[in-house]
């Protein structure tokens, strides 16, 4: 009797373990990048919208179009690379400002919106003096087909981008007032434009 009980317990534990392993596998997060290649080999530049556009920059977001790997894919984390201006000196300790993040469907309908201080996320809080991963965890948002992640830096954080030779197919500027996307071609000197790609990585399952 004791042996049978022990065998049953062992079997139950084994089955339980297998089920847990299967669950873990099923919920294992999948990463989607806005870029191709190795980040360490890229030359990244920090850009913020308020520096580019002045007061209007408050209402302009760095936006990236992604495609959900499957219908109902659940987005649960967004990671950018940012710099809040802190370079290790007391004079550059950042003031608290508010950043915002939006998730929109392919028709730009709002699915999720979040705003918070930049400080818990940016490099200063990590005693880093250069661009640093800026990670925002969000409640699982089911997305299907194409969708957009829009980040409003509002001048609080500069966001890393890579320079391109031609207009990006998945990076945009999102204009809040007109619910409109425009190409992420930044205006530089002499009326020239610089196409860029926002560096963003999503995590979901």
């Amino acid at each position: 009797m004791v042996l049978i009980m022990a065998a049953l317990c062992l079997a139950a534990l084994t089955l339980g373990g297998m089920a847990a392993a299967a669950d873990a596998q099923a919920t294992q997060n999948q990463l989607i990048n806005s870029y191709t290649g190795n980040l360490t080999e890229k030359q990244l530049a920090p850009v913020d919208m308020v520096s580019l556009f002045g007061r209007i920059g408050f209402f302009v977001a760095e936006a990236v179009k992604f495609k959900a790997p499957k219908a109902g894919w659940k987005l649960n984390q967004v990671q950018l690379i940012g710099w809040d201006g802190y370079n290790g000196t007391a004079a550059t300790v950042p003031q608290e400002r508010i950043i915002a993040l939006e998730v929109r469907d392919k028709n730009l309908n709002l699915l999720y919106k979040f705003a918070d201080s930049q400080l818990p996320y940016s490099n200063y809080a990590r005693n880093a003096t250069e661009m640093y991963p800026l990670t925002i965890e969000i409640p699982s948002i089911p997305v299907s087909d194409d969708f957009y992640v829009c980040f409003y830096d509002r001048g609080a954080v500069s966001i890393a981008c890579e320079k391109l030779n031609q207009t990006s197919e998945n990076s945009f500027l999102y204009i809040e007032a007109g619910n409109e996307l425009v190409p992420s071609n930044l205006i530089i000197a002499d009326n020239q434009t610089l196409p860029v790609n926002w560096i963003m990585t999503l995590s979901g399952n």
Binding site: R55, F58, Q95, R97, I98, Y112, K113, A115
Partner: protein, 215 residues
């Protein structure tokens, strides 16, 4: 019951009355433009002000911390709406307010948070969102209808939009002609938004200039 006391508003108004006239006039223009846009896009815009032509409204700027001090941080300007149909989708809230941008120095105030809540008829929270005021009410000339977009929220029956200004922005209120749908919300209680007129000691209801937009 907390009331908006006329006297404190008068002190503020004396300093700003000329400025206010220009502000309100410009705000009305902004408001008219916003309403027109909504109408053409097939959405429904709900408002609970007097419905008078805005150019004829008497309007005053209000901040809860000016009225209630530190306790004002927990006081929200609330408006009760009724969804025009069951399963109506609330998609945005428009609030006529001003963050205090100084056009002469081109400086804007430091970021401060406001809080928006949507509550059902029993005051259960349906949606909650905090953000900084400059991103919605940063007008160089006047109060502006700041649009706070929200993920589509399905609503039936009565519901409340509550804006906690937290001292971050001046909310515009219509003095008098109260429709009885504007409140001050604090500690789970809805108190009618009223003010006392100093000269007559008369209590009049006010309307917050807050709209609910959906379809």
């Amino acid at each position: 019951m907390d009331r908006i006391h006329y006297e404190s508003l008068v002190i503020y108004l004396k300093k700003t009355i000329l400025f206010m006239a220009a502000l309100c006039c410009a705000a009305l223009c902004f408001g008219a433009v916003a309403a027109d846009n909504a109408a053409t896009s097939g959405t429904t815009v709900l408002s609970q002000d007097s419905g008078k032509n805005v150019s004829l409204m008497k309007m005053t700027l209000f901040r809860s911390i000016d009225e209630f001090g530190i306790y004002g941080l927990g006081v929200g300007e609330a408006v009760k709406f009724t969804a025009p149909k069951s399963d109506w989708k609330l998609k945005s809230v428009e609030i006529l307010a001003w963050s205090g941008f100084n056009n002469s120095t081109q400086s804007f105030p430091a970021d401060k948070n406001f809080l928006l809540e949507i509550r059902d008829k029993d005051l259960n929270v349906l949606y909650k969102f905090a953000d900084a005021q400059n991103n919605y009410f940063l007008s160089p000339t006047a109060p502006v209808y700041g649009t706070i977009e929200i993920p589509a929220l399905i609503i039936s029956g009565d519901f409340y939009v509550i804006f906690y200004d937290r001292g971050s922005a001046y909310v515009v209120m219509e003095n008098g002609n109260g429709t009885g749908n504007s409140y001050l919300f604090s500690n789970g209680l809805m108190d009618p938004a009223e003010r006392i007129i100093g000269t007559t000691n008369e209590t009049v209801k006010v309307n917050w200039m807050i709209k609910a937009v959906g379809n």
